[in-house]
């Protein structure tokens, strides 16, 4: 591949790439992100390639393996260009029909989106309600490019922001544009990005570093993975612009090894950018040198914390240090280091190209731009959604997310990962922003939104996060290491029905110590899941402690399964599927659960046909005695005659 040596050269290459493409030629884009691959996208891609060859259409139809468009719920997602027809949940056996339809410029009606509420079909991607209410500045490019081909990124205007910065802006001008945009860190804290850059730039040490934090450790959050996997060059371009602004010559991408596809794509992207002269020595002939190394994270949640991440980069165990001196001044090997997460870096080229003013039209007074959230849990449309800051939580959950499946009731939404909290139904009209969420006792975090319905026990949710954090605490400081462990012990007892009066107060006292005395944000925010669930769902804690009852019928030790004899139709389904053979009964004999043998796995509850609904969960009340054996015969009305 020829090197690009000037901004004019870059523009020429872009025009050449575009000229070689026929905009009217059909292109079949298949999502090859982790989510869709897990749903079988690999087989679909292979089927498309085989079918196109079979129908001898190689010269007429293109295929493209793209990054994640966000609608994971209905993966594998296939989009046909130039019309942008969107097919969902495509199986290999659907492929011949799609290819024929592409050839004849028709639509395969049965594979397009159907609104579950109205029954209306949405043929184009933009018409699907899930996408319609989003503002997809960042993630929207994912489906337009193959992340393994730099040409695709160049074709959509990639690296033009870098060219502008290197040739038409001074480092100070870049910095002031980013400062003006009021971009705040997307990784959790929401620290103003421009201020962080400025601090590093002003530090006297001449050796500086810029770092991408792609150690996305929050369970239930995967937006950074989607960006890095689907559009690695946008992060690289942002990072290079940042390096120019602060005066760094070296950069790192810290990406967790649990994201193998992101690692692969970012390594390919770096190689291609170097070959093209967009990274490395004398970038675009400007005289600016910048190299990037990839460091794979070996799996430690605490390494998402800036000082811990930098310690890990040095090849040591990632333990945080006190930050009286910011890492922007003293970071990796004690040199000034700017650390931002993937989404923050990916915003930078957009701000440079379109201006701070453009960026600021999205969002609220203090939270600008758009934010990607991963909307997961008990929600109809699981996936990644990009929305302007300030949108109401209700709109995200109902308009985009499609509400709660199975006719269940919404209970809470958890934001901010293990450091965040739960927001109840009464606050659903809250605007999504850094400060708004903090005031409600939660936080923005990196953007996980886990929706919970009436079947989710809030005490168990708090226990879950403290269990996670006990495991992930690095152990360096006592309030975190010991405090969280004691909190977990108390919560473990409560969900097992062994809680006692005074436990809540003790938990509150432990929370106070952990918040005040922990070294890093992991410990300081660890009590949040407990405190926020206590604030909004105190009655659930009290029911567990006083009545030994789990109102959500979820805590295993506090519930029992019971088959209601008058509803059971002796169909044998539950008895056959019970993994421990705890269900007695036979043909025409009402089934009875042996409470001694039952492991409370819930299989019987799930498999009992909805028209019978005979299996019931009980909590806080005794299980009715099994009906006597001679009364178990089922009479089948209508069949006897």
């Amino acid at each position: 591949m020829p090197r690009i040596n000037s901004p004019e050269d870059l523009e020429k290459v872009r025009q050449e790439i575009l000229a070689a493409r026929d905009p009217g030629r059909p292109c079949i884009s298949i999502c090859a992100g982790t989510g869709c691959l897990a749903s079988g996208a690999g087989e679909v891609i292979a089927a498309f390639k085989a079918e196109i060859e079979k129908q001898d259409l190689q010269a007429e139809v293109n295929t493209r393996e793209t990054g994640c468009p966000g609608f994971c719920e209905r993966g594998p997602v296939v989009v046909i260009y130039p019309e942008e027809i969107c097919y969902l949940q495509v199986r290999p056996e659907d492929v011949p029909e799609i290819v024929s339809a592409v050839k004849e410029k028709k639509v395969v009606e049965r594979l397009v989106y159907v609104d579950p509420a109205t029954g209306e079909k949405a043929i184009l991607e933009a018409d699907i309600p899930f996408y319609k209410h989003q503002v997809r500045n960042l993630i929207g490019s994912n489906i337009r490019i193959d992340p393994k081909r730099i040409e695709d990124y160049l074709a959509i205007g990639g690296y033009s922001a870098l060219a502008r910065v290197l040739f038409r802006m001074s480092a100070g001008e870049v910095l002031s544009e980013v400062k003006k945009s009021n971009l705040r860190g997307r990784g959790g804290g929401g620290f103003p990005t421009g201020r962080k850059w400025e601090e590093s730039r002003n530090a006297p040490d001449p050796i500086k570093y810029v770092i991408v934090n792609a150690d996305e450790g929050d369970p239930g959050a995967f937006m950074d993975r989607a960006l890095l996997e689907g559009n690695p060059h946008s992060t690289l371009e942002g990072l290079t612009i940042g390096a120019y602004a602060v005066g760094a010559r070296e950069g790192y991408i810290y990406v967790r090894q649990e994201y193998p596809l992101a690692v692969e794509n970012v390594i390919i992207a770096i190689k291609q950018a170097e070959e093209r002269g967009l990274l490395g020595k004398d970038i675009l002939g400007s005289g600016f040198d910048f190299t990037v190394k990839v460091h794979k994270g070996a799996g430690a949640f605490v390494c998402g914390e800036s000082s811990a991440l930098m310690t890990a980069l040095e090849g040591r165990a990632g333990e945080p240090r006190p930050k009286y001196i910011h890492t922007a001044v003293k970071g990796v090997w004690d040199h000034p280091s700017v650390l931002n997460n993937v989404e923050t870096w990916a915003n930078v080229p957009l701000i440079i190209n379109k201006g701070a003013g453009w960026f600021m039209q999205f969002g609220t007074e203090r939270s600008k731009g758009t934010k990607i959230f991963s909307l997961v849990g008990k929600i109809t449309n699981t996936g990644l959604v990009e929305v302007p800051m300030g949108i109401a939580l209700r709109d995200v959950i109902y308009k985009i997310g499609g509400g709660i499946p199975g006719g269940k009731r919404f209970k809470a939404v958890q934001t901010g990962g293990p450091s965040g909290g739960c927001i109840p139904e009464s606050l659903l009209d809250l605007e999504v922003g850094f400060d708004e969420l903090s005031r409600a006792g939660s936080m923005m975090g990196s953007g996980g939104m886990i929706v919970m319905d009436e079947d989710t026990c809030m005490v168990d949710v708090a226990r879950y996060f403290l269990n996670f954090l006990t495991d992930e605490s690095c152990g360096k400081c006592v309030p975190c290491r010991e405090g969280i462990r004691q909190m977990l012990k108390l919560l473990d007892n409560i969900v097992k029905g062994k809680g006692k009066e005074g436990d809540i107060e003790l938990l509150e006292a432990l929370s106070e110590t952990a918040i005040d005395a922990s070294l890093c944000a992991l410990g300081k925010t660890a009590p949040n899941p407990f405190l926020s669930t206590l604030k909004y769902f105190r009655e659930e804690y009290e029911a567990h402690i006083r009545q030994k009852r789990c109102p959500a019928l979820s805590c295993k030790e506090l519930i029992a399964y019971h088959i209601e004899p008058e509803k059971c139709r002796a169909c044998m389904i539950c008895a056959k599927q019970c993994p421990v053979n705890a269900i007695a009964g036979g043909k025409n004999l009402i089934h009875v659960i042996d409470q001694e043998k039952c492991t409370k796995c819930g299989t019987c509850f799930e498999v009992c046909p909805a028209r019978f609904g005979a299996v019931r969960k009980l909590s806080g009340e005794p299980v009715p005695a099994p009906i006597p054996e001679d009364a178990r015969a089922v009479s089948r009305k209508g069949k006897e005659t």
Partner: protein
């Protein structure tokens, strides 16, 4: 593990002590665990004391100091999977394999680990066996998946 192989990995990463984690990750991915001789060799070549290597090998989740079974089972315990019933899936897998998270069976058939989110939340609860994702799991489905393993 062959010393020559380890040396090659170390050379690929430049031989500096800052490459320690990357070297260990590569040995782990090739060998599936970190044998004592390998750690010794890495310490010698990178000039890092064994205490620090063991600190790292026990600090990070990716490393194992014991051999792994033929099949590696990962049960996702991410929040999205958790609220959809991942614990019940884990309980079933534990009952059927007789091992707990972090353990390997004596017959070396299975190793069981819990992981915090594999990012396939739409498919939750998720079970991953030897890198293959099995989605929308419940106790009965998980049992069926395990039944088919050799």
């Amino acid at each position: 593990m062959d010393i020559g192989k380890i040396d090659k990995i170390i050379d690929r990463h430049g031989g500096g002590s800052d490459s320690l984690i990357q070297v260990l990750l590569e040995i782990q991915s090739e060998n599936h665990w970190l044998p004592g001789e390998a750690l010794g060799r890495v310490g010698e070549r990178l000039r890092v004391p064994l205490t620090r290597i063991r600190h790292i090998a026990t600090f990070y989740k990716a490393f194992s100091l014991v051999p792994k079974g033929r099949h590696e089972i990962h049960v996702c315990m991410g929040t999205a999977c958790h609220v959809r019933g991942a614990q019940r899936v884990l309980d079933t897998v534990q009952d059927l394999t007789g091992i707990r998270p972090g353990e390997t069976g004596l017959d070396l058939k299975y190793s069981l680990e819990t992981v915090n989110c594999v990012g396939c939340c739409a498919l939750g609860p998720v079970l991953e066996i030897d890198g293959k994702t099995h989605g929308k799991m419940g106790p009965a489905k998980a049992a069926a998946v395990l039944k088919n393993m050799e």
